[in-house]
């Protein structure tokens, strides 16, 4: 028995619906007879086309400009709680992003309903159940939510494919719930993007990632050159080098970073801590280059090369250039 009403917390950036939210809308079509999206952004209305095309019949648009001036968690949870009261959804899906977690966490506390995070699968057979992996994806766990509606589930991006349903734009329902004064105590005063040029990490056919084995932050240039030679490739990083300040967090792949599922993932000087492998083991193929033949990454690799990453990566870049010029 499917659910009656499933909501997706849809994030919007640059006037476009975030891909992770469209993945959730696609999944929601299987779970509920009515699928609706909720957006908190002055650009909310611009997402109606994409949201509708991925299955949302309705888009609740909270487009007060104040939503961009404050941290979203507090005011969005307030507004969602009011909307939940009015429309009684059975399930709300959030993507596992910073704002997704902020809103879902506050909403769960406000409503006193359970929340499950790190979902890789969601099923609704009367009750909602969630599949996730724990302990570095060594165990698969199924969790049933039974603590009242709505169930709140936070899903790792890339768990589902986004597929259009062919439907037209979602019906826009403006939400005129003001941002309470107390939420203005925490204000966003500046935003900085640290996104590299070239294909996005989540979308590239090849991801070339670096870790401590690169020995020096400047050696990330070698990975940039390799990615450039390959073409449709992006550069990622392990948590260790992000924490050490070598490269921005936007490049981090892993449990607390991005999930990637490229055709080929090339791990360069990455030992393969569980924290990291959770974010990349969904790659179709994995290549590992590491000096330490006992590195755990070799247990996952389709092709492992034991050797000096600082020698092999430049050789590989040259080899690819040579082959492409033929």
């Amino acid at each position: 028995m499917a659910l009656d009403r499933v909501w997706v917390f849809l994030e919007v950036a640059g006037g476009k619906a975030a891909p992770a939210g469209l993945e959730l809308l696609t999944k929601a079509r299987e779970l509920g007879s009515t699928v609706e999206a909720v957006v908190f952004s002055p650009e909310a209305e611009q997402a109606a086309g994409d949201a509708g095309a991925h299955g949302a019949a309705t888009l609740y648009a909270a487009s007060d400009p104040a939503y961009t001036e404050v941290l979203l968690g507090g005011p969005a949870a307030d507004a969602l709680a009011a909307l939940v009261e009015e429309h009684k959804p059975d399930l709300i899906l959030f993507a596992m992003t910073q704002d997704g977690r902020d809103v879902a966490g506050r909403l769960a506390a406000k409503l006193g309903v359970p929340v499950v995070a790190n979902a890789l699968e969601v099923a609704a057979d009367g009750a909602v159940s969630v599949g996730s992996s724990v302990f570095g994806a060594t165990l698969n766990v199924t969790t049933a939510l039974e603590g009242g509606a709505p169930a709140i589930v936070i899903v790792r991006p890339k768990s589902f494919a986004a597929e259009p349903s062919g439907a037209g734009p979602a019906k826009l329902v403006p939400v005129a719930i003001p941002v309470a004064e107390k939420h203005r105590r925490a204000r966003v005063v500046d935003r900085t993007a640290e996104v590299a040029s070239g294909p996005k990490l989540e979308e590239a056919a090849v991801v070339v990632s670096g870790g401590r084995g690169l020995a020096d932050p400047k050696n990330f240039e070698l990975l940039e050159q390799l990615a450039g030679a390959i073409g449709n490739a992006a550069v990622g990083a392990s948590r260790a080098v992000v924490d050490a300040g070598w490269v921005p967090y936007a490049m981090q792949v892993g449990q607390t970073g991005k999930t990637v599922k490229p055709t080929v993932y090339i791990a360069c000087g990455i030992s393969g801590a569980m924290q990291h492998t959770v974010g990349m083991k969904g790659a179709k193929a994995i290549v590992a280059i590491n000096r330490d033949e006992n590195a755990p990454i070799f247990k996952l690799a389709d092709l492992g090369v034991v050797g000096d990453v600082l020698k092999i990566v430049p050789q590989l870049t040259e080899e690819i250039k040579k082959r492409k010029s033929k």
Binding site: G73, G74, Q98, A117, L139, I230, G245, E293, L303
Partner: protein, 257 residues
């Protein structure tokens, strides 16, 4: 200034965790336990704040009696006092129960800033700071990768998907910090010795006047556990000068070059 830092004792993250096959609860027996490495950044952040602005750091934790090790470590790093909330009924608590217990403890203690990690390294739910902030009715300033305090205004760089936002908030707040926000200090020998005489309280949900928390009231239960399918290891070669060419062949087979 009163800073409350939340810490958690977890199974050593360098070992693979296990669930009890009958109860589906985390196996704690016979497993090395440590302070969650993510919490060391929170303790350090708290100590830095009070070193600059005056005041003291109180460490709070929920968990079995062994959780005292994590609290003691934080005391050895320099925190002034510790509180462990422990009760058999709390076993199997979900994230929401955990947030209710920690929020009630912070409220009882009084705070200008409550600091947490962004998520625990064993459970990774990652919503406890936000849920605590909702219960305490204060802003949740989350995912901080740098922290500055100017009077009662906190200024942080907050990690985002694309980069970071600069966020300014007036106290009181709940603040979650990322690994990398600072370089946690090691407890000194003097710190370790001194920690033994610092106040360490034990509370139960009853002391906090909480009901309906703990495993029995968790709105979720694990219904199945199975080993995840593992990727098999493939071909491993030692680089003899041909390693790069072998990788190029592999990329060509996969049609990405």
């Amino acid at each position: 200034m009163k800073v409350v830092v939340c810490v958690k004792q977890i199974p050593d993250p360098n070992t693979t965790g296990q669930l009890d096959p009958s109860t589906h609860l985390l196996k704690r027996e016979g497993v090395e336990v440590v302070m969650d490495p993510g919490d060391e950044y929170g303790v350090e952040a708290g100590l830095k704040l009070v070193e600059a602005a005056g005041g003291e750091v109180t460490i709070i934790s929920m968990g079995p009696e062994r959780g005292l090790d994590a609290v003691r470590k934080a005391l050895a790093m320099g925190a002034a006092k510790g509180i462990l909330v422990s009760d058999e009924s709390l076993r199997g608590s979900d994230a929401l129960s955990t947030a209710r217990v920690l929020a009630a403890t912070a409220k009882r203690e009084g705070f200008d800033i409550v600091i947490t990690a962004t998520e625990s390294t064993d459970g990774y739910t990652g919503i406890v700071p936000q849920a605590m902030a909702e219960i305490l009715d204060v802003p949740a300033v989350t995912f901080a990768k740098s922290i500055e305090l100017d009077g009662d205004t906190l200024k942080v760089q907050r990690q985002t998907e694309a980069g970071y936002d600069v966020v300014q908030a007036t106290l009181p707040v709940v603040l979650s910090v990322t690994a990398g926000v600072n370089e946690p200090r090691y407890p000194s020998l003097k710190g370790i010795m001194g920690a033994k005489s610092k106040p360490l309280d034990r509370l139960t949900p009853r002391d906090l006047e909480l009901s309906g928390v703990g495993g029995a009231s968790a709105g979720q239960s694990i219904t199945a556990v199975e080993p995840a399918p593992q990727r098999g290891a493939g071909e491993i070669v030692k680089d003899d000068g041909q390693g790069a060419a072998r990788v190029a062949d592999f990329l060509a087979e996969r049609k990405v070059i």
